[in-house]
């Protein structure tokens, strides 16, 4: 562990074994058939998923095709990409215009162009996101755990003072919020392994600070007082029991987290301004990222540029103190951000502004700190988009977006339908090859995967492989094994690794 110097390893072991013990006593799911699994050598200690929620068109980002500029009255199928392509640091790999900074660090990464989403019938983003994050198509008969929760359950926290599964940037009070909650959970693994949600990265410090208005001094006093009152409480006469120990240990853990030096990592105000501005150009301290959700066209995305950057900065700071699994999302809100049902071209200009600088900076910062080698960055989306095809060319599903016979306005210029036959996943660090492409897609519509298809089970198996977890690992629920990749069938794509 290269980033293990900030805490005591002994503490970590103590916490982990205590958690395991409590899990057994409480009837939490056990590992099933652990003995049969081969030991895997981990190439990463931390995973950062950069989530492009809403369906990121690969032909407009990391897999550009023939560019056709907008002309009034053009045929709707006349364009494959609405941006010209640009070179990257690697010969032969081109990105879409607007991703220049990420292109400059492509020599540190591996690009999968052949990720293929599942067939779930009529497209519903939250169902595909459920499948991406749990590896299982919803609904399931038991509550399936999020991949972050599997990491938390299997590997535990890297630093006991940092929650093992941190989820940055998603609110749950929008149209499909309930559907998002259905997979943003530890499910049957138990809430101990659930997400530590930070919906607003700029307010992350509040999540680990004493409650509003409480000074650190008072917070410490309150805790001391609690310990004294606890010692004075006659409940001691009931002796030691599992419930009491579980309660006291959880409060201790919380207090340790809130008062540990690692908690400072949550506070973006402690980051030098010039360094914040590398993630968010022109950032002003205290700057808020707010926009009315009904903001028309590209207005919403434009006003939110910077929020994802702060999330990436937070992810870097948390990685430095020993986070295990972090997800940073551009945020999924129906019909906003990557969910472009219209105005695709214009809105992607903003979306690329949101992500380009932060991705590159995250890679460079981790590299400069010597952490990139043991941190796997995974940029992904639930599926891609296309101007014409909804679903897959040979498995089309009900169209959700009207495509006019002639494109008379820029409103109809872009990738507005949901395409599931190819998509891009960009990986950095954590043992993946540098400057490598895996998978090929067709150059003409349908721009589907034609070589080295990667499905979710195999993508997950690859991520688990990097973290030293077997795709056949299973937890027992209702007496049956629930595998971390569906039915244990995931196979790591070894071509991704150096």
């Amino acid at each position: 562990m290269s980033n293990s110097t900030h805490w005591s390893r002994r503490d970590f072991l103590k916490t982990a074994s205590a958690a395991t013990l409590s899990a057994l006593a409480a009837g939490y799911p056990r590992r099933a058939s652990a003995a049969e699994l081969e030991k895997l050598e981990a190439s990463a200690d931390t995973v950062i998923v950069l989530w492009m929620g809403g369906g990121m068109a690969s032909t407009e980002t990391f897999d550009p095709k023939r560019y056709t500029p907008f002309t009034k009255g053009m045929a709707p199928d006349a364009f494959l990409s609405t941006f010209p392509s640009i070179p990257t640091a690697v010969d032969g790999i081109r990105f879409s215009e607007g991703l220049e900074k990420t292109a400059a660090v492509m020599d540190r990464g591996t690009l999968i162009r052949s990720y293929t989403a599942g067939d779930l019938g009529l497209i519903l983003h939250s169902r595909h996101q459920f499948m991406w994050h749990t590896g299982y198509a919803p609904p399931q008969t038991v509550a399936a755990p999020h991949i972050g929760a599997v990491m938390a359950r299997t590997l535990g926290p890297l630093n006991p003072a940092v929650p093992a599964f941190i989820n940055i940037g998603q609110r749950f009070d929008n149209g499909e919020g309930e559907e998002l909650k259905a997979f943003t959970t530890a499910g049957f693994l138990g809430s101990e392994h659930g997400p530590f949600n930070i919906p607003f990265p700029d307010q992350a410090a509040n999540t680990v600070r004493p409650p509003g208005g409480m000074t650190p001094g008072r917070f410490e006093d309150r805790n001391k007082f609690y310990k004294k009152l606890l010692a004075a409480s006659p409940v001691g006469e009931h002796g030691s029991d599992y419930q009491k120990e579980s309660l006291l240990r959880s409060l201790d853990n919380a207090h340790r987290l809130l008062s540990s030096p690692a908690a400072k990592a949550f506070d973006l105000a402690l980051e030098p301004l010039e360094s914040v501005r590398k993630y968010v150009p022109g950032y002003q301290p205290g700057q808020k990222f707010e926009a009315a959700r009904d903001a028309a066209g590209s207005k919403y995305e434009n006003q939110m540029v910077g929020r994802f950057g702060l999330g990436c900065l937070l992810a870097r700071r948390l990685t430095e103190v020993g986070a295990r699994y972090i997800e940073v999302t551009t945020e999924y809100i129906p019909f906003l951000n990557w969910d472009t049902h219209e105005n695709g071209h214009a809105r992607l200009i903003s979306m690329k502004k949101q992500i380009d600088g932060p991705i590159a900076q995250l890679v460079l910062d981790l590299e400069a700190r010597g952490l990139l080698d043991r941190t796997l960055i995974v940029l992904a989306s639930e599926f891609s988009r296309d101007a014409m095809i909804e679903g897959k060319p040979d498995k089309r599903v009900t169209d959700q977006v009207h495509v006019p016979e002639k494109v008379e306005s820029e409103k109809h210029y872009g990738m507005h339908r949901h395409f599931t036959d190819a998509g891009s996943v960009l990986l950095f660090g954590g043992g993946v090859k540098k400057g490598h492409v895996h998978g090929i897609t067709a150059d003409e519509r349908p721009c589907k995967t034609i070589k080295d298809r990667v499905v979710i089970e195999d993508l997950h198996a690859s991520i688990y492989q990097a973290m030293g977890i077997s795709p056949k690992l299973a937890y027992e629920i209702e007496k049956r094994p629930f595998y971390v990749t569906r039915d244990g069938i995931g196979k790591p794509v070894m071509d991704l690794f150096g």
Partner: protein, 644 residues
């Protein structure tokens, strides 16, 4: 779950080819039978058990072939007789296990038989295939199904609670010396929380403790059971979990789900007899149909999650305590239920018999609709779904169904005692640690008109319930011995309501509109947690999102919960409101304030040491921040969060 579609097609292929006699050359190749006498019990039974029964016993009949008994073995399956007495070389069974045709080897899955084992089978057949009649591989008579009424042991005490009578021989048999009943304070806390889900109000607690009446505990239990509104609000959470009812959640987005809150509230408020309660869920009215309607997701869903299959799974789990989930994809590996069982049950809720889908691959075979426990009877065959469901409801709730009552008895026991009579509570084919207790209480429930409140009264007035709390043991420990109720945690809703009782801070408005028995609508003394959608605090404390049925909430405290309690804005806000209210009550001394807080929160005055410590924190003169910190600290004490 594993998919076995390839195995299925192989099996079908095997069935199509009839057995052909082996040539002399092939017979030569068979392992020799040997001539020493074979012991069925010792030598043959283990082979059958290990290699054959998974597919040809316990109700399974791959290729229509059962090895339940000697008769079914001889009879064989679709390919004709399996065994010819005295003629092992002519027995198709031997041909298959010996692997004469490499494409048709039995067993299909797992290790093949050794030559020595085949030789043993041959010798056994040659010697007449004797089968010990006591051995049967048929599906066993399910446990805990038919009603049984054990006699109550005589204890000498006329007024003894039946639970205590039944446990009287249990204790000495298990070397348990039951402790003394807990004091009035702990007893009151238990029953208030268990019946109405609230902390005992200070004045009520004091008059209860002061009462010299010998019968006061039983009276308190009865009085709390008569608080119909708060009883309903407490048990609404329990049933919302079981029936996955909520005010928001997946499915509501586009009408793919229907709440049953009004029906459920009324059923609890009026203590609807349990048989009727279940009948109205199984054969629903528009007000109760949300349960069997299930959750309809948009797009394509796994065949095992179609609404009619959800209904089959949920009815079986909630009311019968059995798991059909595995069997809704393939014959279960963890119990005896088969795909045909699950589809037979699901067909009752579909428009008619369903084509079975094996791990998402259609089989082309239709499962006749049928009830899962044929021992209890079957559902009236009809093309009319209404007729079928009415018949199903009658079947599940008839007096001869001892599973319905046992499952409820067990769930309540688990709630009150921390651990079920049968564990896990959704596996009612497991034996109870006291079959007499389970069976007697179940019969008693049916005998008394399925009156759930009466059952609760029996349970909570027993001495067993009043024993000192013991530490929780591992859920499925086979060596479990009952010594008293386990220490339990407040549920999310109980915790939030307890904070409400201490601070006076409740929720502003109920989410559902609930019409009440007395003609009022949403007439509640306070808006309790169950009446609103889950907020951050409730979620952190374990209120589930109800996409799946939840029958037991995870009992452990977690770090994320503790974080929410330590710095979450919701609890901090409630505590502040409580502190402001406490300070606004005048006149007061700081000692009075502290004592009141202690009495409300943990049902007792502070000790002198505690009083001394608390004075220091709230300050002199009292400070708002100090009172807040005192209230928060009280709420974090095990005495507050745990039920002892």
């Amino acid at each position: 779950m594993k998919s076995f579609a390839p195995a299925l097609s192989l099996m079908l292929a095997a069935c199509l080819h009839a057995a052909a006699a082996l040539s002399p050359a092939q017979i030569q190749q068979l392992p020799p039978p040997g001539s020493r006498p074979i012991d069925f019990q010792k030598e043959i039974k283990p082979i059958l058990e290990d290699r054959c029964i998974n597919c040809h016993g316990h109700g399974r009949a791959k290729g229509d072939f059962r090895m339940d008994s000697r008769q079914t073995l001889l009879k064989g399956g679709t390919t004709g007789p399996a065994v010819v007495e005295g003629e092992s070389a002519q027995s198709y069974l031997i041909e298959l296990v010996a692997g004469v045709d490499p494409d048709k080897v039995m067993p299909k899955k797992g290790t093949k038989l050794t030559r020595q084992q085949v030789g043993l089978l041959r010798a056994w057949i040659d010697q007449g295939a004797h089968w010990d009649e006591s051995v049967s591989f048929a599906r066993a008579e399910p446990l805990n199904l038919k009603p049984r009424r054990p006699a109550l042991p005589k204890t000498g005490e006329k007024t003894a609670n039946p639970i205590d009578q039944l446990l009287a021989p249990y204790y000495p048999a298990h070397h348990v010396k039951p402790g003394k009943p807990v004091d009035d304070r702990l007893f009151a806390r238990r029953v208030y929380l268990d019946i109405v889900g609230l902390l005992p109000p200070t004045d009520e607690l004091e008059s209860f403790m002061a009462s010299p009446d010998k019968d006061k505990r039983a009276q308190l239990v009865r009085r709390l059971l008569e608080d119909n509104v708060n009883y309903a609000l407490n048990w609404l959470s329990f049933w919302n979990d079981l029936l996955r009812n909520d005010y928001q959640g997946t499915g509501y987005i586009d009408g793919g789900r229907k709440a049953i809150s009004q029906w459920l509230y009324s059923a609890l408020e009026t203590n609807k007899p349990y048989d009727q309660f279940v009948a109205e869920l199984v054969h629903p009215t528009p007000a109760s149909e949300g349960f069997t309607k299930g959750i309809v997701w948009r797009g394509v869903v796994n065949a095992s999650q179609k609404p009619h299959m959800q209904a089959a799974q949920n009815i079986s789990q909630v009311f019968m305590g059995i798991n059909l989930k595995c069997a809704s994809c393939h014959d279960s590996f963890i119990n005896d239920w088969t795909l045909a069982d699950a589809y037979g049950m699901a067909g009752l809720y579909a428009d008619g018999p369903l084509e079975m889908v094996l791990c998402d691959k259609p089989t082309g075979k239709t499962a006749p609709t049928k009830f899962i426990y044929q021992q209890l009877g079957d559902v009236q065959a009809s093309t009319n779904k209404e007729v079928r469901l009415e018949s199903l409801a009658r079947l599940i709730t008839r007096r001869e169904d001892g599973r319905l009552t046992r499952t409820l008895v067990n769930r309540l026991w688990q709630k009150f005692y921390g651990r079920g009579l049968v564990e896990p509570v959704d596996d009612m084919e497991k034996p109870a640690w006291s079959a007499d207790l389970l069976d007697w209480l179940a019969e008693d429930l049916a005998d008394h008109g399925y009156d759930v409140k009466r059952l609760i009264e029996v349970m909570l007035t027993s001495n067993a319930y009043q024993l000192p709390a013991v530490a929780a043991t591992e859920q499925t420990d086979p060596k479990f011995v009952f010594r008293g109720p386990e220490v339990r945690r407040l549920s999310a809703e109980q915790f939030r309501d307890a904070i409400g009782s201490v601070t006076g801070a409740w929720y502003p408005n109920p989410v559902p509109t609930l019409h009440q028995a007395d003609g009022h609508t949403n007439h509640f003394a306070s808006v309790r947690s169950v009446l609103v959608a889950a907020d951050q605090l409730q979620i952190a404390l374990g209120r589930p999102n109800r996409e799946q049925i939840v029958t037991v909430r995870l009992p452990a405290a977690t770090t994320l919960q503790a974080l929410e309690l330590t710095n979450g804005s919701e609890l901090a806000d409630l505590i502040r409101r409580g502190a402001e209210a406490a300070l606004s009550r005048k006149p007061h001394s700081s000692d009075e304030l502290i004592t009141t807080a202690y009495r409300k929160a943990i049902s007792r005055p502070p000790t002198s040491k505690e009083l001394h410590l608390a004075r220091r924190i709230i300050g002199d003169p009292t400070r708002l921040a100090g009172v807040e910190d005192l209230l928060w600290t009280l709420a974090m004490l095990p005495e507050f969060q745990l039920v002892y």
